[in-house]
Structures are given as C-alpha cells and as structure tokens.
C-alpha cells in the first residue's frame, strides 16, 4: 500500500512504512519597514520548498537537511531530502547535471558525505537541475553497513518522484 504526496510542483509515491512532508518555510525579513521604504527589494528572502521522506516519524520542526530527524535513525532507517535552490543556481557548475537521479548505488554513500557526522551513518549528496529547477538530493542511511540492502527502497522512491517546471515561490 502506498500514499501519494504532492505540492509545490513536486509529487512522490510514498511506500508503506515511510512518510513525507513538503515544507515551504516563511521568508525571513530582517529589515525594518523604514529600510524597506527606501529599498523595497532588498533584504526580503525568497524561500523554496523541500521534501523530506523517511521511515521514522517526521516532526514539524526539522532542519532543511534533516536536523531533528537524522538523530533518531536506527540501523534500518532512511532519510531523504530533496531541497530546491533559487533560479540563480540553474546553469551553474554545481547544478549542471540534468535530471533527478532515478537510481543511486551503495558505493555513492560515504561517512564523509553527511551534512552532520553521526557515528554509524552514511550519506549521499547529488546536485542537479530538473525542469529548470535546481535541487540537492541528500540521503542519510542509518547504518553504513546496511546501505546495500536499503538502496532499493531509495531507488523505488526516486523513480516515483515527479518535478514540474518552476511553479514560483
């Protein structure tokens, strides 16, 4: 049994035992109204959505790259984040690969590819552009030793993800 999640031009089929949240944070505006009156376009942050998929509970308060979740991963758990970057990133070298990866290998996981080192865990990072939108795919496996037995679950999810052309922020 699966569920389907969609929002902000992204959709994914979530397998049983996994759950997902697409989050679009409110922009932070550090400037005063007086400063804005002088320069309305300066200082207003534009936020982009990110999707988190995991086979552990996803709390409301989570960091973009899984802070608040990855600490809870057990040996058989996975965390996947798809984080959108701004349009200025499209066409840059980092985001030059085209298309969301539909398959990752166990060898692409490494303890040094974690955004935050947690003993026993391993991570995967890839950057790409899909339908004119720039993304980072970040995956954390709860156990480095068991990545080989878990990548099929990751690839199943990756194959189900669709990303439409830019839907605006």
């Amino acid at each position: 049994m699966t569920t389907t999640l969609h929002g902000y031009g992204i959709s994914a089929t979530i397998p049983q035992g996994f759950e997902a949240r697409i989050t679009h944070l409110d922009p932070v505006d550090p400037l005063s109204s007086r400063t804005h009156a002088a320069a309305p376009m300066i200082g207003t942050e534009i936020t982009r959505p990110f999707i988190h998929i995991a086979n552990v509970p996803l709390p409301a308060q989570r960091d973009t790259f899984g802070g608040g979740v990855v600490e809870t991963l057990g040996a058989n758990h996975l965390f996947l984040a798809l984080v959108e970057y701004g349009p200025e990133c499209v066409g840059t070298k980092l985001f030059s690969p085209l298309g969301l990866p539909r398959s990752v290998s166990a060898r692409s996981f490494s303890r040094t590819r974690l955004q935050r080192i947690v003993p026993g865990q391993s991570g995967h990072q890839s950057f790409f552009t899909h339908n004119g939108r720039a993304f980072c795919l970040y995956i954390v496996a709860g156990s480095y030793a068991r990545v080989g037995t878990m990548v099929h679950q990751v690839n199943r999810i990756l194959r189900s993800i669709t990303i439409s052309a830019n839907v605006g922020s």
């Binding site: 999640l5 929002g7 049983q16 035992g17 759950e19 949240r21 509970p57 409301a60």
Partner: protein, 246 residues
C-alpha cells in the same frame, strides 16, 4: 343490582387503566434514570480482533496511513501501518468544548506520556469541513494533520475521539472518546495490554504476583504447623503485637 354491578365493572376498568399507565410511566422513568446514572465519559474497548464495537467500527479493523496538510498548508503523509510503534490518533475540532482542554495542554507543550513506543498524531478536518480561523487559534503551535479523508477512513463519529493503531499488525487496537488525557492514557494502556502507563499505577509500586503466591504458600505452611499471625516465635527477641487473632 345490575346497575351496581355495572358501576363496579366500570370502576375496575378505570383502575386497571390507571395502574397500567402508572406502570408504563415508572418504566420509562427508570430507563431514563439508568441512562443518566449509567453513562460513562469514555468507551474503552479491549483489543479483540474482528469484534464489532459499535461506534466507529470495530477493533481489529485495518488502520490506514494518513495524507493531508499542516496548518500552513504544507502537504504531508504520516505512516501508521507498517511501522514498529503504536500510533494514537487524536481527532479534535475547533468547535467542540471538550476538545478545549486537549488543545490547551497541547499548546502548552504538555504532551501526555503515552509510553515510549506510542506516537501521538493530532488530526483535524481539512479546510473543506473546519474553520481554519478558529483552528489556527486553538491549535497555534501544535503539529496538526488536517485530513477530512482520515475521518472518513477511520469512521470517526465525533470529537474528541481517539484511535490506537498497532503499526506492526496494522490493526486498530482500541478506540473511544475521553474527557481528559488520563482517560486517553487508560485507552492506550488497554489497547496495548500494558497497565504500567495507566494513571496512578506504577510498576515500581506494584508487587509481582509471584510474591503474593509465595506469601500465601508460606502462610499456609506456618498455619498448618500451628504458627498463626502474632505468634511469639515470629518475633524473636521482641514483644509480640497485642492484636493477635483469636
């Protein structure tokens, strides 16, 4: 003579009707009284796979994963089936007065202790069936999953309503309404077959049943030997208690 007999007959008929009416009235009153005094604020259902329980369907029926939105309109799903823990689904609404105490405690971050492996998910209906203005006010800061579909999937009869799902079997293990978190904890304990989280009952304070059995055997052996409670031989070097059994 005939007239007298007729009068007696009429009086008897009138009396019969009067007594019947009184009896019917008393029965009705008794039934109402039973309903009032016999009502309970919570319906607890022990896990009994496949047994219909009336309101809300049946324990043992399959649980369903949840799909909806949060209060900010962000889409989300929540896994209830195929996970290694229990999930307590708390169906609340902005308009029900009984829900107020639950919202208040949730807003204050006073999440009840439901046991280590029980996850709480608070649900409300979606914007199609709930006042978002009122809900945003009562549920401010609370992680709420808005899903009218979930209410239909779980046949929720009203609010507040609580359903416990066993993630391993994917089955509903208990359901009912409650007036406070203590009653919800009882529901969870019954559904899990775990008395340790029932309010006021601490496993640390409970004596194991094997202790009680051992005590009974020793008492019986002593009494068979003629040693009864209060016997001086039980208190070597001390004065036996004054209250000894006859």
């Amino acid at each position: 003579m005939v007239i007298v007999l007729l009068l007696v007959l009429v009086v008897l008929v009138v009396l019969t009707i009067f007594v019947s009416a009184l009896t019917a009235s008393f029965s009705s009153l008794e039934a109402r009284l039973d309903r009032v005094t016999g009502s309970t604020p919570i319906e607890l259902r022990r896990p009994s796979p496949g047994v219909p329980t009336g309101v809300g369907g049946a324990t043992g029926r399959p649980g369903r994963d949840l799909v909806g939105h949060d209060l900010d309109g962000n889409p989300l799903t929540a896994a209830v089936v195929g996970v290694e823990h229990f999930t307590l689904l708390a169906f609340l609404s902005s308009g029900c007065s009984t829900c107020g105490r639950f919202w208040t405690q949730l807003r204050g971050g006073t999440v009840p202790d439901l046991g280590l492996d029980t996850r709480l998910i608070v649900l409300a209906k979606g914007a199609d069936a709930e006042s978002m203005t009122a809900l945003t006010e009562v549920a401010s800061g609370v992680d709420v999953l808005l899903s009218t579909q979930a209410w239909q999937d779980y046949e929720v009869p009203g609010t507040p309503f609580f359903i416990l799902v066993d993630g391993r079997s994917g089955a509903v293990r208990g359901e009912g309404t409650a007036m406070g978190w203590d009653e919800v904890r009882n529901l969870v304990a019954l559904g899990r077959g775990d008395a340790s989280i029932v309010t006021g009952v601490s496993t640390a304070a409970m004596k194991p049943s094997s202790d009680a059995e051992r005590e009974a055997v020793i008492d019986q052996l002593l009494m068979d030997a003629g040693v009864f409670p209060g016997d001086p031989s039980l208190y070597p070097g001390t004065t036996p208690p004054e209250t000894s059994p006859s």
